[in-house]
C-alpha cells in the first residue's frame, strides 16, 4: 500500500508538551503545575447566559463573522481598553479560540517562500501553523537578561528580504514576559520601516501586573499592519467554550473570513451569546481573578527567592519561568526527575522552543494551598540536587 501521509505534516514535530503529558498521565497522584488554563470556573452570570441561549433555542449557525452584537461588544472593549477603533462590520472576525485565528491569519497572508519571525520561548502553535501555511519560520531566541522581551536589535537581525510577518506573543506564555509602551514603539518603528505585518497574540492581555496591557495596534501607524488576536479563554476562564477573535484591516479579515467560512462555518453559537455577557458585565470578575493570580505570582517569586532559585519577575499571564541551569541537567531531565521523585508536574522550557533549555514553566493557575504544597516539594528537591552536586 502507498504511504498516504502528507510529507509536510509528518515533518512537523509533535508538541513537546504531548510527550510529557503521556508521562504525567500515568502518575495518578501527581500534583500538576503544568496547566495552561485558568483554575476558575467561568463566572456564573456568563454560564447562565449560555444556558439562556439554549433555552431560547439559539442553536443555529451565526453569520460567518460571528454575531453582530458580539462584534460590537468586542469593538467597544478594544476602544475602552486600548483606545483603538475597529469597525465591527468588516474588521472583526469571531473564531474558534485564539488558536484558529492564528492559523487562518497566517494562511490569509502567506505566500510560498515568505518568512515569519517567531520569538521563542512562546506558544507551541506558531511554528507549525507557519509551516502549514507554507512559510519559513525564523526563530528569535529571546534572552532572560532582557526579561524575555523582544529587542529592536534581535528583530533587525532576523529580518530578511523575505520577512512578511512578525509574531508578537505578549503577555507571553511560557515566560510571563510583557512588552511595555516604549518597547512596542521601538519595535513598531522597525516594522513600519521594513514594511512588515505583525500578528499580535494578546490572549493574556487582561492578566498583567504592572500597569495595563498595551496593544501594538494602538501605536501610531500600526493598526493598519496588525492582526490582533484575543479571546475569552484566559480573561474570563472560558477555555472550553472555544471562542476567540481577530481584528485586522478589512482586506485581511475578508480573506480570513473566507477560510473560516469554508473550514469552520462559524464559532459556537452558545459561546458567542455567553461572550456578549462576558464583555458587557465581566470586568469585575476579570479584576477579581487578576488579583488572585497576582497574589499567587508574588507568592511564587518570593518562594523562589527564598530557595535561591534564579527567576526573573514576570508581569503577565499566569506563568513563572525559573532558571535551573545551576543544576547542570536539562529541563527535561529536571522535570522528569522532579515528577518521579516528588510527584509534581512542571513543563520543561524546551516545549516552547529550543532556547527554553535551562528553564521550567510553572503555572500558577492553582490555589495558593496547592502551590504551597508543590513549592514545599520543589524546595526539598532543589536542596537534594544541590547536596548531591557538592
Amino acid at each position: 500500500m502507498r504511504n498516504f501521509l502528507s510529507d509536510k505534516i509528518v515533518g512537523i514535530k509533535p508538541s513537546g508538551i504531548r510527550k510529557f503529558f503521556d508521562i504525567v498521565s500515568e502518575m495518578k497522584d501527581a500534583i500538576s503545575l503544568g496547566v495552561g488554563e485558568p483554575d476558575f470556573d467561568t463566572p456564573w452570570h456568563i454560564r447562565d447566559e449560555g444556558i439562556y441561549a439554549f433555552e431560547r433555542g439559539k442553536t443555529f449557525y451565526t453569520s460567518n463573522a460571528g454575531l453582530k452584537d458580539l462584534r460590537v461588544e468586542i469593538a467597544n472593549y478594544l476602544k475602552r481598553t486600548q483606545g483603538t477603533v475597529y469597525n465591527p462590520d468588516n474588521e472583526i472576525l469571531v473564531t474558534v479560540g485564539g488558536s484558529e485565528a492564528i492559523d487562518i491569519g497566517l494562511r490569509a497572508v502567506i505566500n510560498a517562500g515568505d518568512e515569519v519571525i517567531i520569538p521563542q520561548p512562546s506558544y507551541v502553535s506558531y511554528e507549525p501553523c507557519t509551516i502549514l501555511a507554507g512559510a519559513k519560520p525564523v526563530i528569535i531566541n529571546l534572552k532572560a537578561e532582557n526579561d524575555f522581551r523582544l529587542t529592536p536589535e534581535e528583530l533587525l537581525n532576523a529580518i530578511t528580504e523575505k520577512t512578511k510577518v512578525l509574531i508578537l506573543p505578549y503577555p507571553n506564555n511560557p515566560t510571563g514576559a510583557i512588552m511595555e509602551q516604549s518597547d512596542l514603539e521601538a519595535i513598531a518603528k522597525i516594522i513600519i520601516e521594513k514594511d512588515i505585518l505583525v500578528m499580535s497574540d494578546e490572549i493574556y492581555s487582561a492578566l498583567t501586573y504592572k500597569g495595563k496591557h498595551v496593544s501594538i495596534s494602538s501605536v501610531a501607524g500600526m493598526k493598519e499592519r496588525t492582526i490582533l488576536i484575543n479571546g475569552f479563554s484566559k480573561a474570563y476562564a472560558m477555555t472550553g467554550w472555544r471562542l476567540g477573535y481577530a481584528c485586522a484591516p478589512k482586506e485581511i479579515i475578508q480573506q480570513m473570513t473566507k477560510i473560516h467560512q469554508f473550514a469552520i462555518m462559524c464559532a459556537p453559537t452558545t459561546s458567542q451569546y455567553a461572550a456578549i455577557e462576558a464583555l458587557k458585565n465581566g470586568d469585575e470578575d476579570v479584576e477579581k481573578m487578576r488579583q488572585a493570580y497576582n497574589q499567587r505570582r508574588r507568592f511564587l517569586i518570593d518562594a523562589f527567592k527564598k530557595m535561591n532559585l534564579d527567576c526573573f519577575e514576570p508581569f503577565g499571564a499566569f506563568y513563572v519561568f525559573p532558571c535551573i541551569k545551576e543544576f547542570g541537567i536539562t529541563s527535561e531531565e529536571f522535570a522528569t526527575k522532579f515528577l518521579q521523585e516528588e510527584k509534581v508536574a512542571v513543563v520543561p522550557g524546551t516545549a516552547f522552543g529550543d532556547c527554553g533549555e535551562g528553564y521550567l514553566r510553572i503555572s500558577y493557575a492553582y490555589s495558593i494551598e496547592n502551590l504551597k504544597l508543590a513549592i514545599g516539594r520543589l524546595q526539598r528537591f532543589v536542596t537534594k540536587l544541590r547536596e548531591s552536586k557538592n
Partner: protein, 160 residues
C-alpha cells in the same frame, strides 16, 4: 490595599502576617499596622470560624424570624433591636426594607427552644406587633462557601 487585604482575610483569617505581606507585595510591618488600625477603627470585628455543624453530632437549629415592630419616637428601631440582640442565642439582627422590619437569626438546639424564644421573649416585647418564623432545613452555602461539595480539578494535567 485595604480592600485586597480584607478580601483575603475574609476568606482566611488564620493566614499569618508574613504570608499576607508576600501576597500583597508589601512588608510585614505595613500589614501589621493596617490590621491593627482596622481593628481599632472597628472595621475588623472578629475572626470567626465557618463550621458545617451538620457534619458533627451536635444538634443545631437555625430560625429566621421576621419581626414587625412599632418604631419609637426619637430612637427609631435601634432601641427594640438592642432589646432583641442582647439575647445571646440571637446570632444576627438586621433592619430590613419591605414587608417587615427586623430579621432575627436565632440558633438553638431544637425547634422547641426557638418556638419558646419567639413566644416567651420576642412576642411579649411591647413594640413587637407580629412575628413569622422560618426554619432552615439545609445550608447549601454560607458566608460565600459551598458547604457540601468536593471540588475536583477536571483540567487535563498538562496543557500548552
Amino acid at each position: 490595599m485595604r480592600e485586597e487585604l480584607l478580601s483575603i482575610i475574609e476568606k482566611n483569617s488564620r493566614i499569618d502576617f508574613s504570608e499576607l505581606a508576600v501576597l500583597l507585595g508589601t512588608s510585614e510591618e505595613v500589614v501589621l499596622s493596617e490590621i491593627s488600625n482596622m481593628e481599632n477603627e472597628g472595621i475588623i470585628r472578629g475572626y470567626h470560624t465557618l463550621i458545617n455543624w451538620e457534619k458533627t453530632s451536635i444538634q443545631k437549629v437555625t430560625g429566621l424570624i421576621e419581626v414587625k415592630v412599632t418604631p419609637q419616637r426619637g430612637r427609631g428601631f435601634d432601641n427594640i433591636a438592642e432589646r432583641i440582640y442582647n439575647y445571646p442565642e440571637v446570632k444576627a439582627v438586621y433592619l430590613i426594607s419591605g414587608g417587615y422590619d427586623l430579621l432575627v437569626i436565632l440558633e438553638e438546639k431544637s425547634l422547641k427552644e426557638i418556638a419558646n424564644f419567639v413566644s416567651d421573649k420576642l412576642s411579649t416585647l411591647d413594640s413587637v406587633l407580629s412575628t413569622a418564623t422560618h426554619f432552615i432545613l439545609k445550608k447549601y452555602k454560607d458566608h460565600g462557601t459551598i458547604l457540601n461539595k468536593e471540588t475536583k480539578d477536571e483540567r487535563e494535567v498538562i496543557t500548552p
